[in-house]
Amino acid sequence: MLKYICKRLMAGVLTIIVLITVAFFMMHAMPGSPFTQADQRDIPPEVLARMEASYGLDRPVFEQYLSYWKSLLRGDLGVSFKQANTSVNDIIETHFPVSARVGGVAVVVSLVIGIPLGLLAAVYRGKAIDMASMVFATIGISVPVFVISVLLMYLFANVLQWLPSYGLTSWRHYILPVACLSFSPIAYIARQTRSSMLEALEQDYVRTARAKGVSELLVVAKHALKNALTPVITYLGPLVAGLLTGSFVVERLFSVPGIGRYFVQSVSDRDYTMIMGIVIFFGIFVVICNLISDILLAIVDPRVKLSES
């Protein structure tokens, strides 16, 4: 077990090192310095040189790379190029908790709705509820998140005026963003649960349990479901990643002051340190989530460890 965790951990660290290196050199390959923008084109060259010197941009690239690493290891992601006296750490500290709250609720909602939906579809295979949940799953997988967000916003906030469409001040403000974020994860989880449930229900141990006279409810809930949930656990890590990327659109549309909206803004501002800082933060976050779901899976399903070694 420990060996398995160490192996996964090392792979995660390697991934992050590669990501940081790629991000750093890509940012430095950008044409022009971050200070030569359309709106500031008439900066005198000596001012520009002094600005670059104060951010350390005049030193050789490799030296900058090393010093970036040094400050990273102290947990310092650097200072924004565009907003004076704002560090990337400040931005993440203020805006990430907002995203985490909305995303966390969305993760719970996706699991609480998605698993029972897939379960019902598998147990009542071929019946109306199976058809309905599979139609829903197909919609959730095919329709992009921004389309769903726009439609829900138009319907519930503009036409019916039941729910607020921007801000995040009361629980009612959470409903629309969470619904949009969890729409396609619900579909995916339902589809996954259904197909692995169908497989589990055909296994010998289920037949044995039935033959012993175990009630159908217990067979489904205890014997089959426990084994059918492993693919869902594998999906949990990427789910969090998916909610982070989905949140770009949802946070922008519903004016949620989260990290996703800030990332999109820093991309259009070409705020290089900010982009890099947030990318690295996302990367580390995703790697940790994947690691946790891998370890969970190894605990639940001992076969995983065996096939790894």
Binding site: L151, L253, V267
Partner: protein, 314 residues
């Protein structure tokens, strides 16, 4: 010494009074039905899937309209007409006009050109990279395979959007850079499929026979291994098209992808947000186009999967 052992033939031939009903020696070698090829078989199975067939028809209609309508239409994607801004759907403008009086129908068709081009190009390039990378990795195996697969693991363990945004920033926003950014991240899945198929097939007798007759690695891969693994490879490539269109519309919706005055479905939806209350049709038609295409592509993909490998059918 006369042990009276019957000769072998006597065991084999049936006595005259015994015969197999319905079996005539003259017909034994006759081929009753025409033999079918694998691809003919696939088409027969695909044809029986109404959703997949409908998807194929919808895609063909969208593609034909995207190719030919702009050639004959009086409007162009950037032709503004300030006298007719924000019009609803009418005979003159089937999908209405936008904030600058541009015909929305023609802009959606130009968007279809861009989206379909990006989807097809990204899938085709990913297919080539994936086949070469996965094929070599699976065929050579050993340490090379381990290193190549670690690289794939690293690439796929992060959301591809992070890389795509970085690449888009580096290259600027254009159709070419969107395709490149999508290709650089989406070949990974195909490479995995090709690798596992090649590893499964590489110890087959026909591969051994080809090697003995002096085939080199390129011939082995392109003429023996990849053609026999074509089913799963096509399925994984088919699903790359909708996911590329998905990513492109996502990027354009956020304002990082296709730039004005060019139109893609994502950017059309993006322009429509501020007008959502007063001009809902400006949102409705681009969104309808995206949904129709995504549904069709996914149905065709599902149909292909069931047709190419009936065992995978759920």
């Amino acid at each position: 010494m006369a042990l009276n052992i019957p000769k072998n033939e006597e065991y084999l031939s049936l006595p005259d009074e015994m015969f197999v009903i319905g079996q005539d020696d003259a017909q034994a070698e006759e081929i009753v039905r025409p033999s079918t090829t694998y691809w003919h078989d696939v088409w027969q199975r695909f044809r029986r899937d109404p959703l997949a067939l409908a998807g194929l028809v919808v895609l063909a209609v969208i593609a034909l309209m995207a190719i030919f309508v702009p050639m004959v239409s009086p409007y162009s994607y950037d032709g503004m007409d300030l006298a007719s801004m924000n019009r609803g759907p009418s005979l003159q403008h089937p999908c209405g006009t936008d904030q600058m009086g541009r015909d929305l129908f023609i802009r959606i068709l130009y968007g279809a050109r861009i989206s379909l081009t990006i989807g097809l190009a990204a899938a085709a390039i990913s297919f080539v990279i994936g086949v070469v990378y996965g094929g070599l990795s699976g065929y050579i195996g050993g340490r090379t395979d381990m290193v190549l697969m670690r690289i794939v693991d690293i690439l796929s363990s992060l959301p591809s959007l992070l890389y795509i945004v970085l690449i888009m920033l580096l290259l600027g926003s254009s159709v070419g850079s969107v395709i490149l950014a999508l290709c650089l991240t989406s070949w990974v899945g195909t490479a995995r499929v090709v690798r596992s198929e090649v590893m499964r097939l590489k110890h087959s007798e026909y591969v051994l026979a080809a090697r003995l007759s002096g085939a080199n690695v390129r011939q082995l891969l392109l003429h023996h291994l990849v053609p026999n693994a074509m089913g799963p490879i096509i399925v994984s490539t088919a699903f790359l098209i909708p996911s590329a269109i998905f990513s492109e519309s996502f990027l354009s919706f956020l304002g990082i992808g296709i730039q004005a005055p060019m139109a893609s479905w994502g950017s059309l939806a993006n322009y429509a947000i501020p007008m959502l209350l007063s001009q809902p049709h400006q949102m409705f038609f681009p969104v309808l186009a995206i949904c129709l295409t995504m549904f069709s592509l996914n149905f065709v993909g599902d149909g292909l999967r069931d047709a190419l490998d009936p065992r995978m059918k759920k």
